[in-house]
């Protein structure tokens, strides 16, 4: 793509062909205005696609095998670790990293911070795709994925935390689709849907906050069902939901910084001046938000240790690991963010974001897998389980990229009144 753009090619960003009145056809829009041949050429030229191809060559047969031979073929069939990587990574890590949707919606639509507008759609998209793929991971993990809608309509267990997660993720996915309808409508030249969504955007945003607060928290609350199994340092029956909720705030914001940085590096041709020009300022703005959430999180984490009087546990092996998680995943990014804000250094902010994202991954994997059953034994996922996880995640990246190529997320559709 970069090559074409340097050669003077301009990807489609209007409804009608420049200088004329004929509209672009859908195919032309999907191919960004390139011919099929040119499009394939750029696919082949991109080394990242080769990596994807290798992942798929290995991953797709194994995914098919998972549905043909059953879960026992791809996992250790553990009764003690009923949840493996699919949920540990796919649900518990993906969802907090996708909290950017409701954060940005709230900032822009609710608090009227129009200065974050250029990144709002990226935030929403990051949310939508993250959730969508979390559901895909869930589908890989469920014993009977074709019964996914049972908790909604067939047999309801409304007192269960997972019931709340199911309903909220489903509703929230709908909300996020609705929030991104304007982007699609612009591209397709539809007027009515965009207008309609605009009229209910506040309702959607408030619904987004409620749903997010609850299901981000609920993912934490799921572990309160296992008081003896999650290590006490990672367990707090009063604060678990709040830990998960609060950390999802900086997780979502940091992930958004990471994604916007990647877009700036690899998809520069698709970003418009508005996006590129404001990104540094916005990154620092997001950093401020993230650092506030980080410090709150740090305080409630320590409060939980104090509340359950677990100081003694800090001196055990697990305690060292806990201290490492907090210092690497929370305190380090907090310091980095503070330095970044003080020195107005975007580079440091980006590095901080990366560390914060890694920190969240560590925390969620610690809770769901590593410290789970701490007094039994540790389980290393089956290699096929790892391959499937990588494959689904690769698909997430692929879809992410495809959408960014086309929909007006990083750029503004021309001929639109703002």
């Amino acid at each position: 793509m970069k090559t074409y753009v340097t050669q003077g090619f301009e990807p489609i960003d209007t409804l009608k062909k420049p200088g004329s009145d004929t509209p672009w056809t859908l195919k032309e829009k999907l191919l960004l205005g390139l011919s099929s041949g040119e499009y394939v050429k750029q696919l082949v030229r991109n080394p990242f696609n080769w990596i994807l191809a290798i992942i798929y060559a290995v991953g797709i047969p194994i995914i098919l095998g998972r549905f043909y031979y059953g879960l026992g073929w791809v996992t250790h069939s553990s009764y003690d670790y009923p949840w493996g990587l699919f949920l540990g990574w796919g649900l518990f890590c993906m969802v907090p990293l996708s909290a950017s949707g409701f954060m940005l919606g709230t900032t822009v639509e609710l608090f009227g911070r129009k200065d974050f507008k250029p990144i709002e759609r990226l935030g929403l998209l990051n949310g939508l795709l993250g959730y969508f793929f979390a559901v895909m991971f869930l589908q890989a993990d469920l014993g009977q994925p074709w019964r996914l809608i049972y908790p909604m309509f067939v047999s309801l267990g409304p007192a269960a935390v997972l019931f709340l997660v199911a309903w909220h993720v489903a509703t929230y996915l709908t909300v996020q689709v609705a929030e991104l309808v304007p982007a699609a409508s612009e591209m397709m030249g539809w007027k009515a849907p965009k207008k309609f969504v605009k009229s209910i955007v506040l309702g959607l945003t408030v619904a987004g906050i409620i749903l997010s607060t609850l299901h981000q928290g609920a993912l934490g609350a799921l572990f309160t069902y296992a008081p003896g199994k999650v290590h006490p340092l990672w367990y707090s029956y009063s604060f678990q939901w709040f830990h998960f909720f609060c950390s999802s705030i900086f997780a979502g914001l940091s992930m958004l910084i990471v994604v916007s940085t990647l877009s700036k590096w690899f998809l520069k041709w698709r970003c418009d001046a508005d996006f590129l020009g404001s990104l540094d300022r916005i990154t620092l703005g997001l950093s401020k938000g993230a650092s506030l959430a980080l410090i709150t999180y740090l305080i409630i984490k320590l409060t939980a240790v104090a509340h359950d009087n677990e100081w003694g546990l800090l001196f055990t092996g697990w305690g060292q690991w806990y201290i490492f998680e907090l210092s690497f995943g929370v305190i380090l990014p907090l310091i980095l963010y503070t330095v970044a804000i003080r020195n107005q250094s975007v580079a440091v902010a980006r590095f901080a974001a990366l560390i914060a994202v890694l920190g969240i991954l560590l925390n969620r994997l610690n809770t769901a897998l590593i410290t789970f059953n701490w007094n039994l034994y540790q389980e290393i996922p089956h290699w096929r389980e790892i391959v499937i996880t990588v494959t689904i995640y690769a698909t997430y990246i692929l879809v992410y990229r495809a959408v960014l190529y086309r929909l007006p997320i990083l750029y503004t559709w021309k001929g639109e009144s703002k």
Partner: protein, 176 residues
């Protein structure tokens, strides 16, 4: 200990009493078949005389408080210190064969006698009574030491003719 002490007392009492194995019923036989609960295993051929000898003619060692001799178990003593010999001191006269029969379970639960509420059925009475001593004095304790397994039993225990094909697989769960 208990058994030795009882020996003298038992002998003395025994002399003054009608000898129990002059009574009618299986107790008169020297060796008899305990086969009323046979199913998975054949019945047990039980040498009563030999056990009398081994226990030093202490009937209470097995018959708790129904042999007319003073019971050993302090729990029995609370009520049966002076109980006379029962009309039928055989195991099955007190320990129900169909212990899990609804009526029997009800009868057990409804009894005002605390220590009889949980009275074992015939099968458990045999096993509990026998195994303790057998273990203590080094007598046989393996299942088939006393009774041979029937075909029903082989099927039930998946053994003998019905043994599973040997596989390398474990019970499932965890690493294979």
């Amino acid at each position: 200990m208990g058994i030795k002490k009882r020996k003298l007392l038992g002998l003395a009492l025994m002399a003054a009493m009608v000898s129990p194995w002059s009574l009618p019923g299986p107790a008169t036989a020297e060796v008899f078949e305990l086969d009323s609960v046979k199913n998975l295993y054949e019945g047990v051929s039980f040498d009563h005389d030999m056990h009398i000898e081994i226990t030093g003619e202490d009937c209470t060692a097995c018959h708790h408080h129904t042999a007319g001799t003073a019971p050993v178990d302090p729990l029995c003593v609370t009520c049966h210190a002076n109980s006379p010999e029962a009309d039928d001191p055989s195991c099955k006269s007190c320990h129900a064969k169909d212990v899990f029969d609804a009526d029997n379970m009800k009868k057990n639960w409804d009894t005002p006698l605390l220590h009889h509420r949980n009275k074992p059925g015939l099968k458990a009475a045999y096993h509990r009574n026998c195994l303790g001593c057998h273990e203590e004095i080094g007598a046989p304790t393996g299942c088939t030491d006393c009774h041979a397994m029937t075909e029903v039993g082989e099927k039930f225990y998946n053994t003998g003719k019905y043994a599973p094909e040997p596989t390398a697989a474990g019970q499932g769960g965890g690493h294979h």
